[in-house]
Amino acid sequence: MKVEKYSHITDQELLEYYYTGHDSKWLGILLERYTLLLLGVCMKYLKNEEEAKDSVQQIFLKAITELKKYKVEFFKSWIYMVAKNHCLMKLRDRQGKLPAELNDKLTATADPETDTAALWKNDKTLDLMNESLKELNPEQQQCVTLFYLEKKSYLEISDQTGYSLLQVKSYIQNGKRNLKILIEKKIKDRV
């Protein structure tokens, strides 16, 4: 397939080729890498197959127009943001006003990344991790342990614990977030 032929070229390089030669071929290869992800994101928010498909086409058009105007450095984050904003607008048009909960979810920015490398320079972090793991609620503790330490899939954890797949995912996500908070707090307290 056309896209596979260029799999050794990074997104950044493809963008550079496009900006240098203005050959839309490079832009096409780059956008095709994200078709499936864009379709999924649009479907998640719009919950309609036809609307999701149309939205991906509109996002492509927007990308083609916008990328000509200015330089984008982190394409993946940029196209994700474009897709989320597009869905937000669609939902606003559809419902007049967006439910507050959904609005927060769509506009929320990612948590600032923790410098985990720096965290791991501290030998005591491993002890802190073991200590903090015990402080999680039983469901989160069980799911985090099974997932990260015993390397089980959601399906296996669900079979073993009786929780639904959604619950398993949620316990792992929340457990991971809480662990980070607990460790950072402990490190701060000890400094």
Binding site: G28, L36, L39, G40, I64, K76, Y80, T114, Y148, K176
Partner: protein, 121 residues
């Protein structure tokens, strides 16, 4: 064990290829590979959102077809734009303007010459 624990704090947002994501969706991966994909998704908000949406498609086999359709449409659009740009580029060529000017001048000169010959045979 220590390495497994380190995974919990990782937030490197690794990439996942479309093919693996499709195999995951169709339940065609081993448990080990499923775990790897799920671990990647926990650190990749974009792909995690996408997977949630893709799971809502009634017919998972339809997804590949839709993706191919969207890609074909994209290629067609970009090709059209490219052709339009190339046409414009041809119009921008200075020799084209010069040629038109020379032809116009030749016509005018020819007209004047013919008129003079007719008036003063």
């Amino acid at each position: 064990m220590a390495d497994n624990l380190k995974d919990i704090l990782s937030n490197l947002s690794p990439d996942i290829d479309q093919e693996t994501l499709m195999l995951y969706l169709q339940n065609k991966l081993s448990e080990e590979k499923r775990h790897e994909v799920e671990k990647t998704l926990l650190d990749n908000e974009f792909a995690d959102d996408a997977l949630e949406g893709l799971q809502q498609f009634n017919d998972k086999k339809q997804i590949n077809f839709l993706v191919e359709q969207l890609n074909t449409d994209l290629r067609r659009k970009l090709e059209k734009k490219k052709q339009r740009r190339e046409k414009l580029r041809i119009k921008e060529q200075p020799w084209l303007y010069i040629s038109v000017l020379i032809i116009l001048m030749l016509i005018i000169i020819g007209y004047i010459l013919v008129r003079r010959m007719l008036l003063h045979p």
